[in-house]
Symmetry: C2
Subunit: 195 residues, 2 copies
Amino acid sequence: MTTRLTQQFAFLQEIDKLKGILRATAINDGSRPENSGEHSWHIAMYAMVLADQAGSEVDITRVIKMLLIHDIVEIDAGDAPIHSQFDTADQDAKEQRAADRIFNLLPEDQSKEFRALWDEFEAAITPDAIFGKAIDRVQPLLLNLANDGSSWKQYDVRLAQIDSRIGEKVNKGAPWVWAYIREKIKPWFAARGLD
Amino acid sequence: MTTRLTQQFAFLQEIDKLKGILRATAINDGSRPENSGEHSWHIAMYAMVLADQAGSEVDITRVIKMLLIHDIVEIDAGDAPIHSQFDTADQDAKEQRAADRIFNLLPEDQSKEFRALWDEFEAAITPDAIFGKAIDRVQPLLLNLANDGSSWKQYDVRLAQIDSRIGEKVNKGAPWVWAYIREKIKPWFAARGLD
Ligand SMILES: [Ca+2]
């Protein structure tokens, strides 16, 4: 039991670092960038609240677990903002190495369980992963809406780019949510001739 | 569906404020106070990882949900540090009013569901709530251990106070965890004659 707890607490102490990984989008009040730890909490709350927007084949408790761990690899790999230019293959390789290192801090059974959940989320094929990915992409839109486009301005984003980079995936997992959100964000882009 | 989504997103936008509520304990690297949003994520991870330390009567997915919402009332009521002096009745009244306001932003069925989970956690009677409360109290000990006692120093805490304010509750929900953690923190207090 002692060895097991030592491994579990080594992991729990390591992941504290996620609170220091900064994302492109500011929190609602615009005062500072959101960090990936608090983002992961907010996204898990999105899953709890929007559970009834998921298809009946979605197991929301598995989605919550996926979302709680989905960004942990950023401790080593950093956050790659969706509207920024980055080398996808390079970022993927970094994230794989990060997953190897960080999940392996856990006892072997849990290391395998968490890694399998993370791999499933990344693959985005199962209904749980598709729904989780969908709502992960909705939350930054809502923050941008609240703080006058903190990351939209930084990356010169147009509505067409939101549609292709974000809309398709949200629509796949949570179509009513996408229809609702697109109506909400459209005026911001229209007002700037970016629609 | 539109009304429902409007209520759900009003709630999800409101709870962003939890990222601005600061706690007494610093994050591991000691650079700044932990906020209640990232704390809620970390605690939910504690539940996922320490699930096998819970009794078989504990439903860990309910515990995770309780922990995700347990601090939301702090948006209105603030965080009351465990080692600080505060008026318990006054703080309780503030938290009740906060729960009334914030959970009521949700559609009625979810408002009732979330409020019931929060009430159950606060009552600390069911096995799920007892386990959740136990691990909620463990995490600040680990942060203090990593950052040389950020809140222990601030509040002149002795080991006997940890035992009475924290140990009893951790021991009730997760006895092996408490035995393990107490051994880990004891040297810090002993080195300062505070054991
Ligand atoms: Ca992400």
